[in-house]
């Protein structure tokens, strides 16, 4: 988070896109891993959790940004936590009203969104310093990045662990499901594998850049 600027920013496409790739909360910053691993044993859970986090992130960023001049510096963290907890309580009751099955599947992890460091991190490092518009767009980007990361894990785990995606059978009935993928160790393995893939891609890109520079240097 060292690259975050302290002065006011203009809204650009980058404000939104940063959360998706460059500063992806899960794959790059490794924040908020607890829900990422805990609820991604099916695609549906992953989507619900992602949307719930997105909502809390956007709503709390808006409020923190609006109140940024009124919150005393000494008690800011406590204030942020209370704001976040309020929105999480709302989400908790809304999900309970919409779908009790989903609520039971996600369990305590909806309420644990409070302790998700992505949200507090955004409030402290971004929303408390920027204008409302900018911080909302940034929060949407971050939330979308988080949801995409959850989907990456959820689909792979459900596909390998049960042979389905969103409950629809993908593999033929001969497929022997890897039950371990739905169980806790699978979460660690799949996230580890995604990180390996991204590290590999990054390394290859750097290698290519290096080679290109070398070629230019030789040519001149």
């Amino acid at each position: 988070m060292s690259v975050l600027p302290n002065k006011q920013e203009k809204v650009t496409l980058d404000t939104f896109m940063r959360g998706l790739w460059e500063e992806n909360p899960v794959f790059v910053m490794l924040l908020g891993l607890c829900p990422v691993l805990a609820v991604t044993n099916s695609t549906m859970n992953a989507i619900a959790m992602g949307l719930a986090t997105l909502f809390v992130l956007v709503a709390s960023s808006t409020l923190v940004s609006l109140l940024r001049k009124m919150i005393p510096k000494q008690v800011r963290i406590a204030t942020y936590i209370i704001i976040i907890a309020t929105f999480v309580t709302i989400v908790d009751y809304v999900i309970q009203a919409i779908s009790l099955d989903l609520y039971n599947a996600l369990g305590a992890f909806i309420q644990l969104i409070v302790a998700n460091c992505v949200i507090l991190g955004r409030a402290e490092a971004y929303a408390s310093k920027q204008k409302v518009g900018v911080s909302v767009i940034n929060a949407i980007g971050m939330g979308t990045g988080f949801t995409i990361a959850l989907l990456c894990l959820g689909t792979v785990r459900e596909l390998l662990g049960a042979g389905t995606i969103l409950g629809v059978q993908i593999f033929s009935s001969n497929f022997e499901p890897w039950v371990v993928m739905i169980l806790p160790p699978g979460g660690f393995f799949v996230l580890g594998a995604w990180l390996l893939l991204f590290d590999y891609l990054k390394q290859r890109k750097e290698q290519k850049l290096l080679n290109a520079e070398g070629a230019v240097a030789n040519g001149s």
Partner: protein
């Protein structure tokens, strides 16, 4: 074993449903401060202590909330209580044992954002544990957290001696290790607990 006996609750929280390896709570410190055995041990102790304090406070708060029928304020109250409990613990330790305070250092304030603490308070409320069951639950969770942290730290110290391809160094390898540990801990499921 009777699922409501104190021994079972303790073992369940410490081994069968280990907070870190089976329930994925408190992963940030698990991956963040498990590089050395000594810091892992200190972090484990600090967390165990805060877990005990916040479990007792959460029990009291929940009693009051139920009495006045304002359970919807539970989450806000819990997080506020945990934050102030951590602050209180920090001040007490600083006053009475400066040596311990120096040993714990930065780890104490970090515990506020540890979801294992909030998770503990929420689980004990959902499962309607009485006071002594809550105590057994929080001690078990603390012990389990320390065990997981120490095992991970030991593995990572050994890993430093191994030759790895450059791609897999860092977080990815840590997660793979955690996966193996988690796989090993699944063996405890045979003790009689189900994943809940």
């Amino acid at each position: 074993m009777d699922p409501n006996s104190l021994t079972f609750i303790f073992l369940n929280a410490a081994l069968i449903n280990n907070f870190v390896l089976a329930l994925f709570l408190g992963l940030c410190p698990f991956l963040g401060v498990s590089a050395k055995k000594e810091t892992a041990w200190n972090m484990g102790l600090a967390t165990m202590f805060v877990m005990l304090v916040s479990s007792i406070s959460a029990y009291g708060i929940n009693w009051i909330l139920v009495k006045f029928e304002i359970e919807f304020l539970r989450l806000i109250c819990y997080i506020a209580v945990i934050a102030s409990a951590v602050q209180l613990v920090e001040m007490t330790v600083k006053k009475f044992s400066p040596a311990l305070f120096r040993a714990l250092g930065i780890f104490l304030p970090l515990i506020t954002t540890n979801c294992a603490i909030l998770g503990l308070a929420l689980f004990q409320t959902f499962r309607e544990y009485d006071f002594f069951q809550s105590l057994a639950f929080s001690t078990g969770a603390g012990v389990g957290f320390t065990i997981a942290l120490m095992l991970m730290a030991g593995l990572r110290e050994k890993l430093e001696l191994a030759k790895l391809p450059t791609v897999s160094q860092g977080a990815a390898m840590g997660l793979m290790l955690a996966g193996l540990l988690s796989l090993a801990f699944m063996g405890f499921a045979g003790l009689g607990g189900s994943h809940a």
